[in-house]
C-alpha cells in the first residue's frame, strides 16, 4: 500500500497543480470575459461554441465557474488522469516483469486489486474536490462569489463520470499487458468523444454530454444531484470493478 501511495503521489500532485493553475487563470480572467463576452461570441468559429458563450453569458459567474472548472478543466485533465492512473495499474506490473513478485506476497488478489483501485480513484477525484474548495478564495480576487455547496455536488457528478472512464481503463489493464497501448487507445477514444461534442449533428452521442455546462447549471440551480444519471454511472463503475476483480483473479503470471 505504501509503495502504491508513493507511486501515485507525484502524478497526483502534478495533476492537482495543473488543475488549480487552469482554474486560477480562468477565474482571474472573469472580469475580462464579462466585459468582452459579445466580442468572444463573435470570434467563436462554430455555432456550438457561440451557444456555449451564450450559456456562459446568461448563466453568469456560476456558469462560467462550472464551465471552466468542470467542463473544460476536469473533463480534459481529469480524463487524462483517469486514463493514466489506471492504464498501468496491473498491465504496468506485467510489462515491468514485477507482476509475479507483486502477487506472490501473502495477500489475497482481491485486496491487492482493491487497494490499487481505491488509491487510483482517490488520486483522480480528490484533486477535483480540493481545487473546487479554492474557488471562493480565487473569486475573492475578482470581487464575486459562488455558493460552495452546489459546487461540491458538481464535484460528485464529475467524479462519478471520471470514475467510469477510470474503471473501464482499469478493467483493460487487468485484461491486457501493454499499459502504453491501453493509455493511447483510451486517450484517443476520449479525445474523439470530446471532439464530437463540438459537432452539432453528433454532439448528442458524446459521453461529455453527461458533464457539460447545462448539466452543472441544473445542479447549481436546484442544489441537488440528478440521481437518474448519477446512479447508473456509479453502478457502471461498480460493475467494471467487479469484472476487473474476476479477471484479475484468473490472471496468470
Amino acid at each position: 500500500m505504501e509503495r502504491t501511495l508513493r507511486s501515485y503521489l507525484l502524478p497526483t500532485l502534478a495533476y492537482f497543480l495543473l488543475l488549480e493553475a487552469m482554474l486560477a487563470a480562468a477565474l482571474l480572467y472573469w472580469p475580462n470575459f464579462e466585459e468582452n463576452v459579445g466580442a468572444l461570441k463573435a470570434m467563436a468559429p462554430i455555432d456550438l461554441l457561440k451557444e456555449m458563450v451564450d450559456t456562459l453569458a446568461q448563466g453568469g459567474i456560476e456558469a462560467y465557474v462550472t464551465g471552466q472548472h468542470f467542463f473544460k478543466g476536469c473533463n480534459t485533465l481529469g480524463t487524462a488522469a483517469a486514463v493514466l492512473f489506471s492504464a498501468g495499474a496491473v498491465a504496468g506490473e506485467v510489462h515491468r516483469g514485477t507482476f509475479e513478485i507483486w502477487i506472490a506476497r501473502p495477500f489475497s488478489r482481491r485486496r491487492l486489486l482493491l487497494e490499487r483501485w481505491v488509491t487510483g480513484a482517490l488520486a483522480v477525484c480528490v484533486p477535483i474536490f480540493l481545487t473546487t474548495l479554492t474557488v471562493p478564495w480565487l473569486l475573492s480576487f475578482v470581487d464575486t462569489q459562488v455558493p460552495l455547496q452546489p459546487l461540491l455536488l458538481c464535484c460528485v457528478r464529475q467524479s462519478a463520470f471520471l470514475l467510469c472512464i477510470y474503471s473501464l481503463t482499469f478493467l483493460f489493464s487487468t485484461v491486457f499487458d501493454t499499459p502504453m497501448g491501453i493509455a493511447l487507445s483510451m486517450l484517443f477514444a476520449t479525445s474523439m468523444a470530446f471532439a464530437i461534442y463540438l459537432v452539432k449533428v453528433v454532439t448528442h452521442w458524446s459521453i461529455y454530454r453527461l458533464t457539460d455546462i447545462e448539466v452543472f447549471m441544473k445542479i447549481m440551480d436546484r442544489g441537488e444531484l440528478d440521481w437518474s444519471r448519477l446512479g447508473p454511472m456509479i453502478a457502471l463503475s461498480g460493475v467494471l470493478l467487479l469484472v476487473s476483480l474476476r479477471t484479475f483473479a484468473r490472471k496468470v503470471p
Partner: protein, 325 residues
C-alpha cells in the same frame, strides 16, 4: 519422498497433513493446461520437512508451473495440495502465508532503494522476518542504500533470496535461486539454505545447475513436458549413474557384436552411436564388461572410456537427451 505417478485415488481420501508432519508439501493430482497445451500433467509429489528437493528438467518442462500452482499463483485445473497442513484453496493466500517463494523470472522496482524493496517483498510478514532478511542481505554484502536499478542480475537474485529466507515458514519454494551468482556467493547461498533445512524447513528448489543440485539436494524430481519422470533420492540417482559407462569407438565398429559381448558380461542395455555409446550395467562394477570387451579379439579397443564420475549430467542426458549446465 514417496511414489510419483498420476494420482489414482480421489485426493479427498487423503489424510490432511498436520503442521510439523514429515511431509510439508503434499501434492495430489495437480494439473494445469493452457488452452490445448498441457503444462502440468496430474502428478503426486511429497516434499518432506528438513530436506531439499531438487526439481530438474529443461525449460518448459513444467517446473515453474508446478511451483506457481502450488502457491495459488496459477489456478490448477484439477488436484489438491497442502502446504504445512493447509489445503490450497481460492487464490492461495493461506498457502503463501506459510511459505516463501522466489520466482525464476522476475524484475524488481528499479527506482526503489534495495532496503525498501526488501521490506516491500516482505510486506505481510512479521518484524523478525524483516530483521533476518536484512541481516542476510548485509551478510551477502548487498548495497542496501542503492536503488535496485544499480544492481546486477546476480545481486537482484541475492536480494530475492534474502527475502525468501527471512520469514520463519515451513516451506520455501525457490526457482533458479542461484542463477547468475558468482561461485563465492553461490556457496554462501547454498550454505544458508542447508542451515535453514536443518531447522526443519522443506525446500523445493528448481535448478539447471546439476552440480549444485547434487551438492545440496536430498531428493530429486525430474520433469519433462509437464510430466514427472522420476522421483528419487540423491543417493539412488547417483547409484544409478554409477551403473553407466560411456565408451567411444571408431564409427565402423560392429555394434551388434559389441552389444552381444557386453550383455554377456552384465550390461542390461546399450544405447547411442559407436562414437558415444552408453552401457547400462547390472551393478556398479564395470570391470567385468570392460574386460570382456578388451579381451574379445573381434572388437576394437575403445578410444575413450568414462566411468565413475558422479554423473548426474549423464542421467540428465539420458532422461532428456540434452545437456544441462
Amino acid at each position: 519422498m514417496t511414489t510419483s505417478k498420476p494420482h489414482e485415488r480421489p485426493p479427498c481420501e487423503e489424510t490432511t497433513p498436520r503442521s510439523g508432519s514429515p511431509q510439508s508439501v503434499r501434492i495430489r493430482g495437480l494439473s494445469r493446461s493452457f488452452g490445448q497445451k498441457l503444462a502440468l500433467a496430474p502428478l503426486d509429489l511429497d516434499v518432506p520437512a528438513g530436506e531439499i528437493t531438487g526439481l530438474l528438467g529443461p525449460n518448459g518442462s513444467g517446473k515453474s508451473t508446478l511451483m506457481r500452482c502450488l502457491l495459488g499463483l496459477v489456478r490448477a485445473d484439477s488436484g489438491e495440495a497442502w502446504v504445512d497442513g493447509v489445503r490450497l484453496r481460492g487464490d492461495g493466500r493461506e498457502v503463501r502465508a506459510r511459505s516463501t517463494f522466489a520466482p525464476g523470472e522476475f524484475a524488481l522496482y528499479g527506482q526503489m532503494r534495495a532496503d525498501r524493496q526488501l521490506d516491500w517483498l516482505l510486506a505481510g510478514r512479521d518484524r523478525e522476518a524483516h530483521e533476518r532478511a536484512h541481516a542476510l542481505a548485509n551478510e551477502l554484502e548487498l548495497p542496501m542504500q542503492e536503488p535496485v536499478h544499480a544492481f546486477s542480475h546476480g545481486m537482484k537474485r541475492q536480494l530475492l533470496f534474502a527475502a525468501a529466507m527471512g520469514p520463519r515458514v515451513a516451506v520455501r519454494i525457490l526457482d533458479e535461486i542461484s542463477e547468475g551468482l558468482d561461485p563465492a556467493k553461490r556457496g554462501l547461498v547454498l550454505e544458508r539454505l542447508r542451515d535453514d533445512v536443518k531447522q526443519g524447513t522443506a525446500v523445493l528448489l528448481s535448478s539447471h545447475h546439476l552440480g549444485e543440485v547434487q551438492r545440496i539436494c536430498d531428493s530429486m524430481v525430474f520433469m519433462r513436458g509437464g510430466h514427472l519422470l522420476s522421483d528419487q533420492n540423491t543417493r539412488t540417482v547417483l547409484d544409478h549413474s554409477r551403473r553407466l559407462v560411456r565408451l567411444q569407438f571408431a564409427p565402423s565398429t560392429d555394434l551388434a557384436r559389441l552389444e552381444a559381448v557386453a550383455r554377456a558380461a552384465g550390461a542390461v542395455d546399450m544405447s547411442g552411436p559407436a562414437e558415444n555409446l552408453l552401457l547400462h550395467l547390472d551393478d556398479q562394477d564395470p570391470r567385468r564388461a570392460l574386460t570382456a570387451i578388451f579381451s574379445n579379439s573381434d572388437l576394437p579397443s575403445p578410444l575413450r572410456i568414462e566411468y565413475g564420475q558422479p554423473s548426474l549430467e549423464e542421467l540428465y542426458r539420458e532422461l532428456y537427451g540434452e545437456d544441462a549446465c
